[in-house]
Symmetry: C2
Subunit: 241 residues, 2 copies
Amino acid sequence: MLEGLMNPLIAKFQMGAMLSADDHQSLYAVCEIKQTVNRSMDVVREGDSPAHVYIVLDGWAARYKVLPDGSRQITAFLLPGDFCNGEITVFKKMDHSVVALTPLTVALASPDTLIAMIRDQPELAQAFRRAALVDEAVLRAWVVNLGRRDAYARVAHQACELHARMSHLSLLKKDEFDLPLTQEQLGDALGLTAVHVNRILKRLRDEGLMQLQNRTLTLLDAKRLGEVAGFNPDYLHTGTA
Amino acid sequence: MLEGLMNPLIAKFQMGAMLSADDHQSLYAVCEIKQTVNRSMDVVREGDSPAHVYIVLDGWAARYKVLPDGSRQITAFLLPGDFCNGEITVFKKMDHSVVALTPLTVALASPDTLIAMIRDQPELAQAFRRAALVDEAVLRAWVVNLGRRDAYARVAHQACELHARMSHLSLLKKDEFDLPLTQEQLGDALGLTAVHVNRILKRLRDEGLMQLQNRTLTLLDAKRLGEVAGFNPDYLHTGTA
DNA sequence: CGTACGGTTGAATTGGTTCAATCGGGGTGG
DNA sequence: CCACCCCGATTGAACCAATTCAACCGTACG
């Protein structure tokens, strides 16, 4: 059953890379243990020095930081194939936390093994590098979203981004996908209050652009939604360029 | 004269890494040409496929994106030692632009040479990886700054971050450093208008926390400034951890 | 000497927050 | 089986932080 769950990982890392059979073998082999994490439990916490690298196989997780006043900012949504804490192969301590937003299945990998893989398998190293650069590009897009878009365009942009990512993972059915986030969590990612997220969702629904119901997000008019969001998917490097 | 300017590059990449004489040699050798860029000229532009990797040797640059409505968001300040466009070793096209904020000196490196270096010199690859992970951590800090701090704490936090980075590059004199940014540019980085940045700077000055005059930023009370900013420098990984 | 750019300040406006009340569904214990 | 409760969604009203628009200043520069 682990094999089935590993598909997102393989899919992610062969993206745009010519991985050999050896590389594939390594990706399987590096995931020594499978583990489940309950919803709303932390996978790793800021200040921790985790002994393993956790890789999402199934479910949603989020990176976040809490401020002295207790407010919280989510800095990334983690989907199947994403590393929760790849940086501990370089740094000892986590500078942020990762929480399970749904019941989560993760693979555990040894940092030392990963380091050796990166050192000895150039194609794989390049694939990891590619993934890290996409993560960075997504962060830049979030900075732009938070810094320069109003709440309306901001929510729309997040919807477009998640739609594109889910599509890339083949987790879409038509223009719908499972979005297991409360309005509060959405607000924590978008720098808005849950109340305001609610009002914006209502507006987007009333205008026939998108709809979030029963944890399902439907893009009713993907074209117009992308326009109001100013969405340009190039930064996800989902194509060939 | 190139040798003198290369110091920031060497300094940056031996940070926390055990680089051999060979690695040092490579860092020098990879920078084939030195070039200058006038203030407010773009080093690379969104959509470009630059033939070289540009590395800042002297001066300030910024990554930025422009939105359809013409507004601009800066996503990073680049200081000596920083790569302007390292990602083109993996992706063909830039997903954002880089502009010179001061007269700028850059080194040009060949992407192919860099790729070979990363492949063949594990210690150097690790050093690059470290630098990329710090960049990512800084981006997360910016997301938190934009998403969850009011203008006052936000300006203070940016000041603390730049102070720490300049300190790490040994570009401080006492608690002062050269900050060659207009209030407009600061606003573009902080998701604020130039007018509001001005008001906040006045408040911080009146309260004796910091002072920006003649392109010089002075931390008048670094301790209190860090407190109002909620600044925790761990994410810069400037220490040993 | 004039012009352009960056900084400074005031007044009106507005997008988003805060506070508060209500509603609905799913799970639990009696 | 039903009553209760809790969590998340929804809506209204008052409030506030930041923007917008506008005027004015100083100074570097052609």
